[in-house]
Amino acid sequence: MRLIDETALADIALGSTVLGSGGGGDPYVGMLLAREAIRRHGPVPLVDVDEVPDDANIVFIAGLGAPGVLVEKLPRENEYAGVLGELERFTGKTYSYVCPAEAGGFNGITPFATAAVTGVPVIDADGMGRAFPELQLVTPTLYGGRSTPLAMLDEHGNAMYLTSETNVWSESYVRAAVVASGAHAAVAVYPMTGAEAKQRLVRNAITLAEDLGRAIREARAAHTSPVEAVLAKQRGVLLFTGKVEEVERRNEGGWTVGKAHMSGLDDDRGHRMTVHFQNEHLAAERDGRVIATTPDLIMTMEIDSGEPIPAEEIRYGYRVAVVGLPCDPHWRTEAGIRIAGPRHFGYDLDYRPVEEMSR
């Protein structure tokens, strides 16, 4: 167990932007939300999954919606503190730990806001090792874990309780409700026991985000390349270096969807890159050939500062490195590729690991 204070939060926020793989929502906003909660209620304990008793009840806390919405319609503590109580009221159980569903993006941080207010610890793990746009795309799904009972709370005070037959059904219902709420709501989802968590979750995901954030910060301080530091840390591949020429982006169906088109710089001069996104980056296409796909992580980072740039922020004229990072081994299984691979998102392609595909 260790305490997460404001400095650690800043590193986690930076690193979780990389793990967000273009989506997950702006961790800066999540960091402010958690920071305010920590300032008022004190630091939050972060525990290793092995410290959690097998019979303890735990649950993911996450915000659902379009990242492009989150930077305007700013999250409120009310919903992130309140959603846990809504689930407890619904199930009659007490949840003694919270955990991020995704260590990538805004949702890598939101459990800290819930934890600071309610006094429960956060578990150093997540259900993705990255961010994904749909509720069923978590490692517990691979082991038969159920997303419901779940509770959802929006800023208008609407609460929804849901039980459903499959995780895909609950994604459909929750997505419809999120659109009705204005494309952002807090959920407490995938209730599970400590024993289940030990089998099903991606361990040390928050520590990984913190390490990546620290690697970027230290590379900047040492005047070395933060992009190289991230590639070295995660055995990643530099997919492209270029300048953004056009961004197509819309908030649709509860997601931020579109493409970013780039023209090459340096060694990539004369070549083109298109990054496709649905909240997260799903595919990277170089000169018409796809060279990386989900579930591997595709991230754009500012060339010099290494500042990770999510899909909702990328703009005309930005000079970016497009990096591909291998996903957690949970996803490189047959079941993982079936639910989170390129075909799930409508790309008629076989998944191949980024380190082979980009060659």
Binding site: Y28, V29, L32, L33, E36, A66, G68, V69, V71, E72, K73, L74, P75, R76, E77, N78, E155, H156, G182, A183, H223, E246, V247, E248, R249, R250, N251, E252, E302, I303, D304, S305, E307, I309, E313, R315, Y316, G317, Y318, R319, V320
Partner: protein
């Protein structure tokens, strides 16, 4: 032959140059005055004796006065921030500001029900009664500037526009800055820029009144234009309402000036001023821009501004008697009284450089007693900082030229290990030269109905129109280019959807008779 005048109002000096094409005809320098204008008058007088005021076709002014006011928390108005959203809010306006600045500017934060959803539909019905109550509280608090923001006002500005009407009724004496006119998507950043704009309005009014008087008083009837953050210019009337658009123009002007004075299009530029050295990079003759979340005096912004690293090392920077510490304090404006070479008692970086023989400034004899060890230590510290900043600014390890400009530029002659640096003639007035070469811009900011057309076609048409506007404003059709383009789909509007397109084009002035976009 038509001439142009470039004026740079810096934190320490006000410079004026007269240019005939790219040739510097004459340059003059005066200390920046607290009221800004008397410094300009002195500098202008210094150049006008050599040329005929009737031959001046345009006057370009760049100033760091507004960003300095923010950085130092001086001469700022108090601002009431009003947000239309769902109360209560957790992430309030100014939540991520430095305390020092917030204490000066924060004139109360108010949240009223209102705002829009991402698709433009209402988020909450506008709480008009609540807003009138807020207005009464603002009136009672004595705050006279309001920054108004509304969630998704970039998609649907109507709630913000209606709220402005109500606030004007209730607060007829107050200024109201509406966030949609200042910034783009990203509520905290847009709001911060809106609040800073409101805080600068009184100062902007005073400074611009003074500018008009002083230029007219000098017998110049040519148009007067102010540099903007993006390297284009605006009229003084627009600058009165939107001073925030000038605050990052200083680095743009100094880097453009460095490129113009040397003819070098790719390089690192070090601008040595009285308080800081700013290190940036030019590519293709223009400053490299920052990407996300650049800080303006510690406040996050999503403006497009040059990527500059500021070191606390300038001519007025304090140096300890033993040379073991350099800065960060500076005597700033008072260098001509406080520095030893000017007869003062404070050991400054200027004194160290003069003692090392960099340049004959003031009275070199006044620093002959500074111990050699002190000089060596201080110069080593300065060298470490500069070498590191220059390395960081370079894109690659390849050798690219380092151009030094600014009033303190010659001081770097004494600094070891910098390699070959280029200090061009007139380096001390590079900002004023850069200001005089600001560009003409054209902008399109409009909603396009997509009935019978496509987003791509609408974007192309907007780009063509922005280019035409830039050309109308005086840009050379051969050199005009698109500098920014973005579009936001508006799915809530009937008729097959619509798209909000913002495109900017810019190019160098074709002739010197500048008639900028009329708003």
């Amino acid at each position: 032959m038509p001439l142009r005048i470039g004026i740079d109002v810096g934190g320490t000096n006000t410079d004026a140059v007269v240019l005939d094409g790219r040739r510097v005809v004459i340059a003059a320098k005066a200390p920046t005055s607290q009221d800004v204008t008397s410094g300009i008058l002195t500098a202008l007088t210094g150049v006008l004796h050599a040329v005929d005021a009737d031959e001046v076709a345009s006057v370009f002014i760049g100033t760091t006065h507004f960003i300095n006011a923010i950085a130092q928390g001086r001469e700022l108005g108090r601002v009431a921030a009003v947000r239309l959203a769902t109360p209560p809010q957790s992430l309030l306006p100014m939540i991520d500001w430095p305390d020092r600045l917030r204490r000066v500017v924060d004139g109360g934060v108010y949240v009223c029900a209102g705002g829009a959803q991402f698709d433009g539909s209402p988020l909450n019905e506008l709480d008009e009664a609540g807003l009138r109550g807020t207005a009464r509280q603002i009136a009672a608090s004595g705050v006279r500037h309001v920054a108004l923001s509304s969630i998704f006002s970039t998609v649907n500005p109507e709630p913000e526009i209606r709220a402005e009407e109500i606030l004007r009724e209730e607060l007829p004496e107050a200024s109201i800055t509406r966030s949609t006119l200042i910034g783009r998507a990203g509520l905290l950043e847009r709001e911060s820029a809106t609040i800073l704009n409101a805080a600068l309005l009184d100062l902007a009014g005073r400074v611009i009144d003074g500018l008009e008087d002083v230029v007219a008083g000098a017998g110049i009837s040519a148009p007067v234009l102010l540099s903007q953050n993006d390297g284009t210019v605006m009229t003084l009337d627009r600058a009165r309402r939107f001073p925030i658009f000038t605050i990052a123009s200083g680095p743009t002007n100094s880097m453009r000036g460095a490129a113009l004075l040397t003819g070098i299009d790719h390089g690192v530029v070090v601008d040595v001023g009285g308080t800081t050295s700013d290190v940036g990079v030019i590519q293709h003759g223009f400053p490299r821009e920052s990407t996300v979340a650049m800080s303006l005096a510690g406040v996050r912004s999503n403006f497009r501004i040059p990527d500059v690293l500021s070191l606390a090392l300038g001519g007025g920077t304090h140096v300890a008697e033993d040379g073991a510490t350099v800065g960060p304090e500076s005597v700033g404006l008072d260098i001509t009284r406080e520095a030893r070479v000017f007869g003062g008692d404070t050991l400054t970086f200027t004194d160290i450089a003069v003692a090392a023989g960099a340049a004959p400034i003031g009275d070199p004899a006044a620093v002959s007693d500074v111990p050699a060890d002190t000089v060596r230590r201080a110069l080593d510290i300065a060298s470490d900082r500069l070498v590191r900043a220059i390395d960081k600014a370079k894109l690659t390890s390849a050798e690219i030229p380092v151009i030094v400009v600014g009033g303190g530029g010659p001081l770097l002659n004494a600094v070891p290990r910098l390699g070959d640096v280029i200090i061009p003639e007139h380096a001390d007035v590079a900002n004023a030269v850069g200001a005089a070469f600001a560009e003409a811009g054209g902008e399109i900011d409009r909603v396009y109905a997509l009935e019978g057309t496509t987003r791509a076609a609408a974007l192309e048409s907007a780009k063509a129109e922005a280019i035409a506007r830039a050309v109308d404003a005086g840009a050379d059709p051969e050199a005009v280019r698109i500098t920014d383009a973005e579009d936001v789909p508006l799915t809530h509007l009937p008729g097959g959807g619509a798209v909000h397109i913002r495109v900017k084009a810019a190019g160098p002035f074709r002739t010197l008779v500048a008639i900028p976009e009329g708003h």
